[in-house]
């Protein structure tokens, strides 16, 4: 009996053990993902992609499209490929050479994964394997919008995630740009005058050179149409040459016509979407930049305010811009775009006029206010290391206010950096205007002022030093020593100190940094900075607390 029980129990125990073991037998996942790779996806959807698969197999890309990677494939459908074949007058895909197909396929492949949410109005972030960039946009047909690639194909199925990348299904085959910038322009009769200028100045060859691999350069050309030129009085190339060519040899780098053409070429690949993302862009003309703005959703070049005068800019025609070439992109200007020759004008800059402050109606010019360091981004145009800046109102100085900056004390940082208003290229004396801090043993401080990281060497700012004299008769003498009274009435504690001569190489906004050289003080009161061109009156105008400007003694 005992034995029977034992037997039965043992059998049962075995059963249980077996049952337990079988539980463990879960299906092991041996792959890290169940997503198919790009090629497998295409093969699985052969009703849409059989032609594309045939091309991939023919050029031998089937291996890497089925291996690990991060690709983006713009996949044309069977209909798209059939249309393309018809369009180029061939009977079937087979009639194209392997090389031709390889180039075609390479233009549809990126070695980065690019989602439609990365699309901009311009080029994709990475070049295709063919070497050219694809451009994207959105088009609306019959009330429904879709992404369009290279202005050629519409994305009909976006962002299909495969194991080794992303597939974007398009309804047309993409074709590469075939002409260089120079050739592109030459084919269009409406640019004939500008093309002749390119020839004469030698830039035609620059813009005709191919980009191969890492060698060669991408360019952006802003070309003027004959219409735009004739609107400005240049009916022919001769007229243009007569106006600009000062040496008679346009091919010379310092000839004005040469510079004029160089001014239209940016040494980089910049679609309109790239142009709008920065305020100014360098050109091939040495140290000359174009500035840009977006006005009414259109890109306008060189629309600026100089010395209080608004200079209207030149519109880039959207429809005829963003044209891709093998070595760059072409934009079309609707007006004449000469190099702006501007003479420097003085800038009397009140450092307490920045929007973050002036919009505080209850505070600006009414009461003191502390700008906390926060994340360091509290004020767009003023950066400082740490600690707080204090706006002091109802005191002395221009408009009765100044910015109190702690420097060198333990709670504060050792520097503050301002972005200047627009300065025209040229040479200026920089007068640093501050309110003198009563001197005391621990309040003496010397600060170094730098302009675009170049230290200005005429003088350090010593906030504890005051004007030696307020005697108007000694203005010239004081100026020679680098001191001036900038306020009316002149006061010893309202000090203008000439810290150095600033060489503004490029018209634009620049950085002025004040950093501690020696000592420390938590109450350095900065009121203004005067950028006054050499050869202009350095001592006048002067300023009053109520905001008026006094131009003559």
């Amino acid at each position: 009996m005992k034995k029977h029980i034992t037997c039965a129990a043992t059998a049962f125990a075995l059963l249980v053990t077996v049952a337990f073991q079988s539980c463990k037998k879960t299906e092991l996942v041996e792959t890290t993902t169940t997503d198919v790779n790009i090629l497998s996806y295409l093969q699985q959807n052969s009703d849409q992609f059989s032609s594309l698969v045939a091309i991939i197999n023919k050029v031998g890309y089937n291996d890497f499209l089925n291996a690990y990677g991060t690709y983006t494939l713009f996949a044309p459908t069977n209909t798209a490929i059939a249309n393309y074949v018809k369009q180029i007058g061939k009977g079937s895909i087979e009639q194209l050479s392997t090389e031709e197909l390889k180039d075609l396929l390479k233009l549809h492949l990126l070695e980065e994964t690019v989602n439609t949410s990365n699309f901009t109005d311009g080029k994709l972030p990475a070049a295709t394997m063919f070497g050219q960039f694809l451009i994207t946009g959105v088009t609306t047909r019959e009330g429904s919008s879709s992404y369009i690639v290279n202005r050629q194909g519409v994305i009909i199925q976006p962002n299909i995630v495969a194991g080794n990348g992303i597939i974007q299904v398009i309804d047309a085959v993409l074709t590469p740009a075939r002409y260089s910038l120079a050739k592109l322009l030459e084919q269009d009769a409406s640019y004939s005058v500008f093309v002749q200028a390119l020839h004469e100045t030698g830039y035609y060859d620059t813009l005709d050179a191919a980009v191969t691999g890492d060698a060669g350069k991408w360019f952006t050309l802003i070309a003027e149409t004959n219409q735009a030129l004739s609107d400005s009085g240049f009916g022919s190339y001769a007229a243009l040459k007569a106006r600009y060519c000062n040496t008679g040899h346009p091919e010379n780098a310092d000839d004005s016509l040469h510079l004029y053409v160089a001014y239209h070429i940016l040494p980089d690949l910049k679609y309109l979407a790239d142009i709008v993302m920065a305020g100014s862009h360098a050109t091939l003309a040495p140290l000359e930049v174009i500035t840009n703005k977006v006005i009414n959703q259109q890109v306008v070049i060189n629309d600026d305010e100089f010395n209080g005068v608004h200079e209207p800019g030149v519109l880039l025609e959207q429809a005829t811009s963003d044209v891709s070439a093998t070595n760059g992109v072409l934009h079309s200007a609707k007006g004449h775009l000469p190099i702006k020759r501007r003479s420097p004008f003085p800038v009397y800059w009140d450092v307490c006029q920045f929007p973050e402050l002036t919009r505080l109606a209850a505070i600006y010019r009414k009461t003191n206010y502390v700008f906390e360091y926060g994340s360091g981004n509290t004020i767009a145009d003023i950066k400082w290391e740490k600690g707080n800046l204090t706006y002091q109102s109802g005191k002395s100085g221009f408009l009765g206010d100044y910015l109190q900056v702690p420097l060198g004390v333990s709670s504060s940082g050792s520097w503050v950096e301002f972005t200047t208003p627009l300065l025209v290229k040229g040479k200026y004396k920089l007068w640093f205007c501050y309110r003198q801090e009563a001197s005391g043993g621990d309040k003496n401080i010397s600060a170094q002022v730098s302009f675009d990281s170049i230290p200005l060497t005429s003088a350090l700012v010593q906030f504890h030093q005051k004007n030696a004299t307020v005697d108007a008769a000694k203005d010239a003498e004081q100026e020679a020593l680098g001191w001036k009274c900038y306020m009316v009435p002149a006061a010893g504690f309202s000090v203008g100190r000439m810290v150095g001569i600033v060489d503004v190489k490029v018209t634009g906004r620049h950085k002025v940094r004040v950093s501690v050289a020696a000592g420390s003080n938590s109450t350095n009161d900065i009121d203004m900075m005067h950028f006054i061109p050499l050869g202009t009156n350095q001592v006048y105008p002067r300023f009053k607390t109520d905001g008026t400007v006094v131009f003559n003694p």
Binding site: T10, N115, D121, S144, S145, N159, M277, R359, L360
Partner: protein
Amino acid sequence: MVLQNKRYYVLTLLVVLLLSATSCKKWFDLKPSNGIIDEDYWKTKEDVHAATIGCYASLLGDPANKDKQLAEILFLWGELRADMLASAVNTRSEEFEVMNMNTSPSNIITDWRPVYRSINYCNILLKKGPAVMELDKTFTQDMLNSYLAEAKALRALLYFYLVRSFGEVPLKLEPTTSDDELVALAKSTQQQVLQQIVADLQDAEAKAALTYGSQASDKGRITRYTINAIQADVYLWMERYTDAIAACNKIITSRKFGLIAGNAAWFNTLYYTGNSNESLFEFQFSRQKMNSFHAMFATTKRFVAATVVMDQVYTTDNSSALTRDVRADGAAVRAADNTIWKYVGKNAEDLRSSDESYAHWFVYRYADVLLMKAEALAQLHTTEAATEALDLIYTVRQRANALTATDNAPSTTDFDGVARFVLEEQAREQMYEGKRWYNLLRFAKRDNYAHLDVLLDLVATTVPLNMMNSARAKIRDYNSHYFPIFQYELQTNKNLVQNPFYK
């Protein structure tokens, strides 16, 4: 023998193991020690009351604390695509996507589950509530009606958010309490959903209570006045302007509400304390159940105010410290660093501490009602109506001491000008109250999208410049004005069809 013993030992152990495994089944008969099951609930009127309050509680957050709070979702839906927010250091990638008109179906912001969860609570109450009357003789028809009205109105309000955000949504009117009640519903059209909302509101209006006896309950639960406010909003969306005016009038003529005077106590009364006389319906956050806004706007700043808010929407007047729009600096925003202030400010200067993050979420206020009426009047296109509309706008503006720089002063024959003035005043009055995008979309889609320009101009200012043209082209596709269906929903419900714009 020793061996035998050992064997027995093992055997017993095995048997015990086996028994315990089989006895598992018995657990299913046991009732949880710390919860109530369905069969034991729905017995008394107190149960119905608790279930009603439960519906409101679900507005404050996911009971399981997993999903985003509804108030945060409504803020994101109502403000992300509009023009009053700017990104900050901690803006999330999914938020950038929506702000840049790049929403994809995998974007978590389009997850509507928290809304449907609250809808389901309402559906359960509507289904189970009526049977309680037979069990609890002290539960009268009037009492039941009042609870059902609350549930219907709340469900209508939530569907109204869904229909404005997604266009077409599945209309689920039956409760889901267990897995075998899951149904794969297809989408209903925008018109069908709106019709259901109108019907629910009409039914609820007749049955709803006017008061629940205390200020907090009257503002935290749906009264008949709240239903009228929802109706006005729905009718505006449906372009039924005389109905909207009638709904607003019911609130105005009740004389139960007023504008809180724009003096020093205004911010404290209206926003910091909440449940003021100006309010119709607020989500009742409290120290026990706090909102997520302190983290969003103060601690880890996900958003700041766009610069247009101070520079163009409110503007500043530097001539005197007293001339300022009370709604601007120190109320909606802190102008010095563009902090979104409405939900994190204690007063004009001080920040709430992180354990004080319980500013209410304002669904409707009396000022909203006045502006809704003005909006409807502006669409009647008569001089008398336009005059009345302007009067209402100026009532709201005077309370807030709006600056003359923002006074468009349209003539009473410039109907479009009056309509745009309402839109601008709504922006000032309802700043960050989750209404801006819906106001813009309603304005744009009116009269068969006669004012699409509003949205075209909007994206030109909100998206990065290098995406501007794409965004403008997308806006021309009306389907882009509505969110995609979240991909999780598409995977689990095969009857759902994605919004064609996102295919």
